[in-house]
């Protein structure tokens, strides 16, 4: 009989070796948002996460720069790749369900939400660092609202910006489902006002040097872009000039092509996305470069007409017919698979340029020229500084269109095409500068998820 009880006891014991608190299983790969935003150290990591969000391939990781140039290709860039989602951008025939357009919207607001979380918890950051941390968050928020409004809404100068729909302005953080809102589109002018306010405050808070992160100069540089896009030339001029002067330790590189295919920031970089084999995305390389450099098959071809923008002596038009994966070359273009390719985005795992000092000289020069002023320096000095470096003949006299052309030469394939074309009221591939097709559609999924939104004209 003893064995009977023993065996029963045994069975029961095996069954009972369990339970008790066994259901409290925390995710080892996830940190509760409250903890993530509880301490100085964590909030700083969240802020750095904001740069990770900026570096998304849908954002500064390459797509928005590529889209601005593809859309404004004006017969000078060819999309020959197989992805029809990209071809739609190039051909101005974007469908509202296009996922790469959808993801620009998503990436922008993802970064904005991170910035808002940092700003909302800024009081927990060590007092000595609060200004810098908040300044960086405002830089991210301002830059993202700006990028989104200039792609997804009519240009500031097209009609009445106080009535044209812009994009939702997000200033509250979301960390829980009950914090989700369904915001409507603010007016274009309201979005620009918010962008400018964020960037002015960011500029005032940020330090002059800050590693690879946002600086006073970077905030002023994006601010100058926003002013320029809304045709506030005095604002653009002053912001660009401040960006130049506050760019501690920064200078134009003597050799133009040394700006590119760099794994570390150069002396000319005001802000760049850091890319390595460990992290960061560089979609410009993926699509502009070719397979021998680890890219796709050369989806974007440069037409010879683009090269004709330059003089023969201009190093920015130099080209080689014999590019090799192993032979080094530093010409601005190379010919592969029967077409010109830009060398700017040739190599794998190299930084993506967001702001170079050269842009600021061109912006200051243009704004001074338009206003007839010489704040910082004369327009001729500023623009020739850029040309001289590349052995282009210096201008003796200037017309307004010289600035457009010079920006196309200097800043080619760096994401200025569409925005500059709108500023200079250019016809793009047969479309007027303010054509509805030059504004991205509000993503189909976003319209579904948020009934407060309205679609852009033409979609």
């Amino acid at each position: 009989m003893k064995s009977k009880y023993l065996s029963i006891a045994l069975i029961a014991t095996i069954g009972l070796t369990s339970c008790k608190k066994e259901l409290d299983l925390k995710d080892p790969q996830g940190l509760d948002p409250q903890a993530a935003l509880a301490t100085d150290a964590n909030i700083k990591r969240v802020l750095q996460g904001g740069y990770d969000a900026l570096s998304s391939s849908s954002m500064y990781g390459g797509n928005i720069q590529m889209f601005a140039d593809l859309a404004a290709s004006d017969g000078q860039l060819n999309w020959v790749g197989t992805f029809n989602t990209y071809r739609e951008v190039w051909g101005k025939s974007i469908i509202t369900t296009n996922p790469i357009i959808r993801d620009v919207w998503g990436a922008g607001y993802n970064a904005i939400n991170i910035a808002n979380n940092v700003i909302a918890n800024i009081g927990k950051v060590a007092a000595a660092d609060q200004a810098r941390i908040k300044g960086e968050a405002l830089f991210i928020r301002g830059a993202m609202h700006f990028e989104l409004v200039r792609f997804f809404a009519k240009d500031y100068t097209d009609g009445d910006p106080t009535t044209n729909p812009g994009i939702p302005i997000m200033k509250q953080p979301t960390n829980a489902s009950n914090e989700i809102t369904k915001p409507s589109r603010a007016k274009v002018a309201e979005v620009y006002a918010a962008v400018i306010a964020d960037l002015i405050e960011a500029e005032s808070l940020l330090p002059a040097t800050n590693g690879v992160y946002a600086t006073k100069s970077a905030a002023a540089a994006i601010l100058s872009r926003a002013y320029l896009q809304k045709a506030d030339y005095a604002g653009a001029r002053d912001a660009a000039s401040r960006a130049i002067t506050s760019a501690t330790g920064k200078s134009l590189l003597p050799t133009f092509m040394n700006n590119f295919n760099q794994a570390a920031n150069t002396a000319e970089d005001i802000f760049a996305i850091q890319v390595s084999d460990q992290d960061g995305a560089n979609n410009l390389q993926l699509f502009y470069s070719v397979d021998i450099f680890g890219a796709r098959d050369g989806d974007i071809e440069v037409e010879p007409t683009y090269l004709s923008l330059y003089e023969a002596t201009d190093v920015r038009r130099s080209s080689t017919n014999n590019p090799g994966a192993t032979t080094s070359f530093n010409t601005a273009f190379y010919v592969k698979y029967g077409a010109y390719r830009t060398t700017k985005w040739r190599d794998l795992y190299k930084n993506v340029k967001v702001i170079r000092l050269a842009e600021l000289y061109l912006t200051r020069a243009e704004a001074n020229f338009r206003l007839g002023t010489s704040i910082g320096d004369t327009p001729l000095n500023d623009i020739n500084r850029i040309r001289n470096r590349s052995s282009a003949t210096p201008f003796a006299a200037l017309t307004l269109n010289d600035f457009y052309d010079e920006r196309r030469r200097e800043l080619a394939f760096e994401g200025f095409g569409l925005h500059d074309a709108k500023r200079f009221k250019k016809t793009i591939d047969g479309l007027p500068w303010n054509d509805n097709k030059l504004v991205f559609p509000i993503p189909f999924r976003e319209l579904n998820a948020n009934a407060s939104l309205t679609q852009n004209a033409g979609y």
């Binding site: 259901l23 996830g30 750095q48 197989t82 029809n84 739609e88 033409g458």
Partner: protein
């Protein structure tokens, strides 16, 4: 381990005990009344107890029973009998279909089919044994009413969708719970399908639990049905050996055909001219051509330049190359299998031991599945009242995989290459871009490999103590271990490796899942009037998944493929995921005079995957049955031999498939500029709770003519519970929040349907026998509510148009309606939202509910014929009324929108004004002047099909030859799988759901998905 030792030690002590005083060993033999041959494998049960055994090869059995006990004998194809234990020495069975008195396995127990008050479908292992497929679910296809089985594509050993009574979930799993010998198993894997680790030749029976009464005992994981897999057990008697050999070949079910070189060239040249005209006349001529002719000249030059480039070393003008790339996606594929088993035992010890080797080439190049498995099932009666047992299976599965359907380097994407391109260049290497239009996937055959190694160990030990013949206590401890290692290498010529001198990745997964079940069962009959069967128990389960991976680049040689050779390790990581469930469960079945049956079950579950306050849930069910044929007015009917009405209602949960930590909001690690950062990961939801559904079932079971004809019909209605316990769903939220979705269970969904099955012994002569079994199911799925605010969630991405719409089935196709071709200019036309006006602007097209990816009807019909030793079994399986969208239509049937080779229907394209056709004018989208062809009803087709799923012709050597050779049995057979498919679907195969996006909403999508596998195998089974 220590516990097992103690158990064994205890067992030795227990043997000293006296045997049951009241019982004795009853022995007997069961034979066929007609020919007097022994019937092996018949079930002998002591009535109203759990004591059961099975007859051996000679029809003999021995069982512990009291002198006055009644033995219930059952065997498929024969009428069951009940005999007194004292008269058991020679029992004769008469033929007749008697599935009704079969023993059916249910959750934590077993019962007689005739006493069931729930809906359970049984498929015997012998019906599917030796089917040359990797996954048992593929073998079950078409055999069980209401069980929908669909392989994603024709890759061997990969994803199979199984749905029991429709789909009730959006983001949780819709797959059933799989339970092997009482132990729920895990289905997680890095790649491939974890269920393919199971050698189903070891399986005695599959029981599919369908209604709430059957599944509620599995509580929180029961909502999608439960598949109970019972493996073979040893039978007392002489050792019995079986050997099975099988060999054959695999081929694709279909090749759809693409343009040949001449057709391709003509199409592209035509497209060049059309594009030039379109650009010049209709797109504003922004390229600035001087004249239409100048545009045509330029476009033609451009296209001819491309044709020259794509021709490589050959001359397209002379049609020197005409490559059929589609053929090259496939390989010569062989199938081979060896199975051996030994079983036997005595009244104390019984064993079943098996070993198996199965090697199947996939039809796609580089695809292979190779499994070695072994099993030991052991039962030991330690003492009269105490027995223990062990079921242990080990397997090693090696697979060579191919990439998912949306990868450029997956074999099927080879069809996009131009037929004018030679496979190899003049130096003998595979042509690649820029000579090929896309990456040439054949490079993978020489330069890459993707191997997966899985070790799986599913084991369960049990101990059972019989207090009395009516009451036992049983405990089971199960463990499911799997270790999977995926090794990928892409060489210096491969798409993923060319930029970095090779790319390699090594990924490991270790899944551990342990389960303890402890339950007591009480079974008693009082004066043959009242019968009671009650089970009460508790269970605990815990699963842990650990993954780790490393990846590297820069390999010195394409022959040095392990990561040790990588010059640069670029990434690595590891993670842990755990979940646990604790449960209490019970069931009471009561029967009155075997006529009125009542069942109550319940399970109380706590699960770690929900928030602290919402962790526990209770899942009850009630059921009742009325065996009308036991009533006096039917009892003596010659026609109706069995008639039972039953009904059940219960509440079921679902806690699987949406991640272990989804309810927990989290920031997760990211990386930027060489440091680790924190980024928002998921919103979580502190209110997330059980996805609960209520299921009603009514069934009627018939038996006619001594049960030679049996039928079963069930109606069910399963719908989400109200009150925020509905389906678990990642509800899309505005991106402006920074998030894409959050997990919630606000939504409600309904599945209702009818299942019908019939089994008939048509002819049962002495030599010739013919039986038929037929099943068909109808299911209607309807989303009742999403979040209360939104009634349409469209996920239209230009390729597919699956949506979630209130009032419509899950994943309904919702999108642009194609209006054909403008006969005047060849433009594709779409309907605007008014449904009447047509537009050539895709963005102006309206959105409509246009199709349903869920099959409304499906079923199968099996006919078995036998004449003397010859058997023929024919299974047709069909799926009806569902719609497939070809997401690749915009590439492969795109009127030369780009240089992809095109499907043959494009030959019917519009060419001249006034022409009536459904294929628009060919235009190469060189300038992006128009939207490329995107999803619409143009790329949607009905998928309905009927398939000759399995046809087997077998010959059994006659007994007189066998006895000379001293063999028990010898059977030669030839089996064909998927030999013929009848469908109007013009793609490769209508059984498809492209693997890269397959999900609950994402259904009915085709995207370069491989056709299913057609097999022919020869086999031999010997028993001795």
């Amino acid at each position: 381990m220590r516990k097992i030792k103690i158990l064994l030690f205890m067992g030795v002590l227990c043997t000293a005990q006296l045997l049951w005083a009241q019982t004795r060993l009853v022995t007997g033999k069961i034979t066929d009344e007609k020919d007097g041959l022994p019937i092996p494998g018949a079930t002998v049960t002591v009535k109203n107890t759990n004591i059961t055994t099975i007859t051996d090869a000679n029809g003999a059995f021995s069982i512990q029973a009291a002198d006055n006990a009644v033995l219930v004998i059952s065997y498929v194809g024969y009428a069951g009998v009940e005999v007194n234990a004292s008269n058991a020495s020679a029992i004769r069975l008469t033929q007749g279909n008697n599935a009704l008195s079969e023993v059916v396995v249910v959750g934590y127990g077993q019962t007689l089919k005739r006493e069931l008050t729930s809906s359970v479908t049984r498929v015997k292992g012998s019906e599917v044994a030796n089917t040359p497929v990797a996954n048992f679910n593929q073998a079950l296809q078409g055999r069980a009413a209401g069980v929908f089985v669909e392989s994603n594509n024709g890759k061997v050993g990969e994803g199979v969708k199984v749905r029991i009574r429709g789909q009730g979930s959006i983001n949780a799993s819709n797959a059933p719970l799989y339970v092997v010998d009482g132990i729920p198993i895990s289905t997680g894997s890095l790649s491939g399908n974890a269920l393919a680790d199971i050698n189903f030749n070891d399986v005695e029976s599959f029981e599919v639990l369908k209604d709430a009464a059957a599944t509620a005992i599995y509580g929180s994981r029961a909502a999608n049905g439960v598949v109970l897999i019972t493996t073979k057990k040893g039978r007392s008697g002489q050792p019995k050996f079986t050997v099975g050999l099988q060999y054959g070949s695999n081929n694709p079910t279909n090749k759809r055909g693409f343009l040949n070189a001449a057709e391709y060239i003509e199409l592209l040249k035509e497209a060049a001219v059309n594009t030039a005209k379109y650009h010049y006349n209709r797109a504003g001529n922004w390229r600035g051509y001087a004249s239409e002719q100048a545009a045509i000249t330029d476009m033609t030059t451009y296209v001819e330049g491309r044709l020259t480039r794509y021709s490589g070393s050959s001359d397209w003008r002379k049609l020197e190359t005409n490559t059929n790339w589609e053929d090259l996606a496939f390989q010569d594929a062989n199938v081979g299998a060896v199975d051996v088993s030994a079983s036997g035992g005595n009244d104390r010890t019984r064993y079943f031991i098996s070993g198996s080797y199965n090697n199947q080439d996939g039809i796609l190049f580089g695809n292979n599945f190779d499994r070695i498995s072994g099993r030991i099932n052991l039962d030991q009666q330690l003492a009269a009242k105490f027995k223990i047992g062990l079921n242990l299976a080990v397997s090693r599965t090696n697979a060579k995989r191919v990439a998912e359907d949306n990868e450029f380097f997956t074999p099927m994407q080879i069809v996009a290459l131009a037929p004018i391109t030679p496979v190899r260049n003049s130096s003998g290497a595979f042509n690649n871009t820029p000579t090929t239009t896309y990456y040439n996937p054949l490079i993978e055959t020489e330069n890459s490999e993707y191997k997966s190694y899985t070790y799986r160990n599913i084991g369960a030990a049990f101990g059972q103590y019989d207090f009395t013949k009516n009451l036992f206590l049983r405990t089971e401890f199960g463990i499911d271990l799997s270790s999977q290692n995926d090794e990928e290498f892409y060489g210096s010529k491969a798409l993923l490796g060319n930029a970095t001198n090779g790319f390699g990745r090594s990924t490991w997964l270790r899944n551990t899942r342990y389960t303890t079940n402890t339950y007591a069962n009480f079974k008693k009959s009082i004066n043959d009037i009242h019968s009671l069967d009650a089970t009460l128990g508790f269970a605990f389960e815990k699963g842990t998944s650990r993954t780790t991976f490393t990846q590297g680049e820069q390999f010195p040689s394409d022959d040095l493929r392990s990561l040790d050779n990588a010059g640069k390790i670029t990434d690595g990581g590891s993670s842990v995921t755990e979940n646990a469930i604790e449960s209490f469960f019970g069931r009471v079945n009561y029967g009155f005079r075997g006529k009125y049956l009542l069942g109550v079950t319940g399970r109380y579950d706590g699960s770690s995957v929900f928030g602290v306050n919402k962790r526990y849930g209770f899942f009850p069910s009630v059921s009742a049955g009325w065996v009308i044929s036991e009533e006096n007015f039917l009892k003596n009917s010659n026609t109706i031999s069995f008639l039972k009405l039953r009904g059940s209602y219960g509440q079921l949960g679902n806690s699987l498939g949406f991640g272990s930590y989804a309810a927990q909001p989290a920031y997760v690690a990211g990386r930027y500029s060489g440091i680790s950062v924190l980024v928002p990961g998921r919103l979580g939801n502190s209110d997330l709770t059980w996805e609960t559904s209520n299921q009603f079932d009514a069934g009627l079971e018939f038996g006619f003519f001594k049960n030679r004809l049996t039928a079963e019909i069930d109606y069910y209605d399963k719908r989400s519970a109200k009150g925020n316990r509905g389906f678990i769903f990642n509800l899309p939220v505005p991106f402006t929040s920074g998030y894409g979705s959050y997990i919630t269970n606000l939504g409600e969904i309904q599945n209702s349907g009818v299942e019908f099955s019939i089994n008939s012994t048509n002819i049962s002569g002495r030599d010739f026998k013919w039986s038929t079994s037929f099943n068909i199911a109808y299911n209607k799925n309807k989303v009742l509510k999403i979040d209360g605010d939104q009634d349409t969630l469209s996920f239209n991405d230009g390729r597919y148009m699956n949506a979630l719409i209130v009032g419509q089935p899950i994943g309904v196709h919702y999108g642009q309606k194609y209006a054909g071709v403008d006969a005047q200019n060849g433009d594709a036309l779409y309907f605007e939202q008014d449904g009447k006006t047509t537009t050539n602007d895709y963005n102006q097209a309206g959105l409509f509910v246009v199709g349903d990816p869920n099959a409304k009807y499906f079923g199968g019909i099996t006919n078995n014929f036998s004449y003397k030793g010859i058997e023929l079994s024919v299974l047709f399986q069909g799926v009806f009324d569902y719609d497939i969208v070809n997401g690749a239509g915009g590439f492969m049937s795109a009127r030369a929108d780009w240089f992809d080779n095109q499907t043959r229907d494009q030959l019917g394209r519009w060419k001249t004004a006034g022409q009536q056709t459904n294929i628009p004018e060919a235009r190469l989208n060189r300038f992006g002047d128009f939207a490329s062809p995107s999803v619409s009803t143009q790329y949607m087709e009905d998928g309905s099909y009927i398939r000759l799923k399995n046809i087997t012709l077998a010959y059994n050597l006659p007994a007189k030859w066998l006895s000379k050779a001293k063999l028990g049995s010898a059977r030669f057979y030839i089996t064909g799988i998927n030999l013929a498919t009848f469908t109007d679907y013009t793609g490769w195969d209508p059984e498809v759901n492209t693997d890269y996006r397959a999900g609950n909403i994402n259904q009915g999508g085709d995207f370069y998905a491989a056709p299913q596998i057609k097999s022919v195998v020869f086999g031999l089974n010997i028993g001795f």
